[in-house]
């Protein structure tokens, strides 16, 4: 199984979560859909699709929450026949990130939620402060940045 992160400070919290919760896939991404870390994916294409879908689901769920309850929903869970998906937001010093994980009967929603709470704290503690002059996020750079991240994750950097 491939376990990797674009930024090294994410690696320990992610590895701890994956080992404790017993999940089969995990993905941490920026709300704009850029991947930051992954566990369990073997193809860059799958990560690209998962990131795009997770970012879209997250923004839709946030808006739905605002419409229904006046505030964004904090997480989402979908139970399939054999596998389940959990998606939630994690706040760091660098801003919010989206976390997506897939698990089967080897784990449970209770365990995933419990270890996600710990992951969220570990991630916030491990995150470095934002860069003083961050590079602006531009649409024209999206594909370049995505390819850079995927190359780093799959050892092609």
């Amino acid at each position: 199984m491939i376990k990797a992160s674009v930024e090294p400070w994410i690696e320990v919290p992610l590895r701890t979560f994956v080992e404790d919760a017993g999940v089969s896939l995990a993905l941490l991404l920026h709300p704009n859909g850029q991947v930051l870390a992954q566990y369990g994916f073997s193809r860059a294409m799958d990560i690209m699709s998962a990131c795009a879908l997770a970012a879209a689901i997250h923004v839709s769920a946030n808006e739905l929450g605002r419409q229904l309850e006046g505030k964004p929903f904090s997480g989402m869970h979908h139970a399939g026949k054999e596998r389940q998906v959990f998606l939630a937001e994690a706040q760091t010093k660098r801003g919010p990130y989206i976390f997506l994980t897939v698990f089967d009967e080897a784990s449970s929603l209770g365990l995933v939620r419990m270890y996600f709470d710990e992951f969220r704290v570990n991630l916030a503690n491990a995150s470095p402060p934002p860069p003083e002059s961050p590079e602006p996020i531009l649409n024209e750079n999206f594909e370049r940045d995505l390819n850079r991240s995927l190359a780093a994750l799959f050892g092609r950097a």
């Binding site: 784990s107 449970s108 929603l109 209770g110 365990l111 939620r113 419990m114």
Partner: protein
Amino acid sequence: MSDFTAVLDTLIRQRGVRGSLVVSAGDGIPVDSNLQFGQDGNRVAALAASLYRKARRSAQAAGLGGTGFMQLEAETGRLCIIGGDEIVLVVVAERSANVGLIRVEMLRAAEALA
């Protein structure tokens, strides 16, 4: 008040019992609980249900059939678990608690919940 409140109240009245929970077996999420201040029901539920699931699988793998009553002895107390396919009943008790009595009450409770 849920359908499980009476069952949990009966269990919590036993001497040395510090908490009781009805947990969804598959999800590990508490359905109802009666806990003392300071206990994190969500954590106890998630971990106890996971433990019970793994114990059931271990017993099956060893060809021992179904799992009945399960007891975990810790430094300052015990965790007693009994369950089925959908519901797991968890009792958190002190070390000095009468496990025999707790077991009987849990078996009765499990029958009532079935």
